[in-house]
């Protein structure tokens, strides 16, 4: 009888909540009746499954993280070392010595002065320009001879 009564009660409960398509929760009351607690077996199972999944996933993630993090660091360190090593191995460039090959790029030749005249006087008042005009020249190559035209009074005084 008890079984039938309980079964009947359950059936009524199912019928009452059949429209909602949600498994009806069973309400139990603890000693403090104002705070009902749900005893939904499906949701509990789902929660447990989720908890288990989280527990299983958590150690994996923990295991993966420590493995994953040090790997790039080591890789970076190796790269840094590789980058640093060639710098150390590079021989120090001695700026006090220049390769004669570099000097050979300058075309230094014997030429002849064929024409010379004075420059504008105010230009000679600046000493730097005077030195500069003593060094600079204009020339044109004609019939195997370098024709030069000086514009320096300092050279003319020689």
């Amino acid at each position: 009888m008890l079984r039938k009564a309980l079964g009947f009660g359950l059936r009524i409960a199912y019928k009452r909540n059949s429209n909602s398509n949600i498994f009806p929760p069973f309400y139990t009351y603890s000693t403090n009746q104002n705070k009902p607690t749900t005893m939904d077996p499906v949701s509990d199972l789902n929660k447990k499954v989720e908890e288990v999944k989280i527990e299983e996933a958590a150690p994996k993630a923990e295991e993966k993280q420590p493995e994953a993090q040090p790997a790039p660091k080591e890789g970076q360190k190796e790269k840094k070392e590789k980058k640093e090593k060639p710098k150390k191995e590079e021989p120090a460039i001695d700026k006090s010595v220049v390769d004669p090959k570099l000097f050979s790029a300058i075309d230094i030749r014997i030429a002849e002065i064929v024409e010379c005249w004075k420059v504008i006087p105010f230009l000679l008042s600046i000493q730097n320009l005077k030195i500069c005009t003593a060094r600079r020249f204009w020339f044109a190559e004609k019939s195997d001879r370098l024709h030069l035209a000086f514009k320096s009074s300092s050279l003319m005084t020689k």
Partner: protein, 114 residues
């Protein structure tokens, strides 16, 4: 004024004092630039000068028609261009010469050349 001089012939042309300068006459000068002296070489016109012991480097035909000013070759080399105690023109201690002989400044010793 006429005579032989030494010139740097493949510099980039640039305007100077109202005319276009295509090169430089090589002169010796005292360190304070108070005295400037022409270097008078012995040799044929148009002959290329070379450093003693480096004749192969200065073989004709390998010269650039115009030096690239960005490489600053002249600026790097000129500071080592000097006259020694006897007045011979040297570059890093190596004598500059023609086939006829080394280049020598008449009066300026231990000076700069440029």
């Amino acid at each position: 004024m006429k005579g032989k001089v030494i010139v740097m012939a493949n510099l980039k042309p640039r305007p100077l004092a109202g005319f276009l300068s295509n090169g430089m006459v090589v002169c010796a000068s005292t360190p304070d630039h108070t005295q400037v002296e022409l270097l008078i070489p012995e040799g044929e016109l148009g002959e290329r000068l070379y450093l003693e012991g480096h004749e192969d480097l200065f073989a004709q035909g390998d010269i650039q028609p115009v030096l690239n000013p960005k490489k600053k070759i002249l600026e790097k080399c000129v500071e080592f261009f000097k006259t020694d105690e006897e007045g011979f023109v040297t570059w890093q201690g190596i004598k500059l010469r023609t086939k006829a002989g080394p280049i020598k400044a008449a009066t300026i010793k231990n000076g700069n050349v440029s």
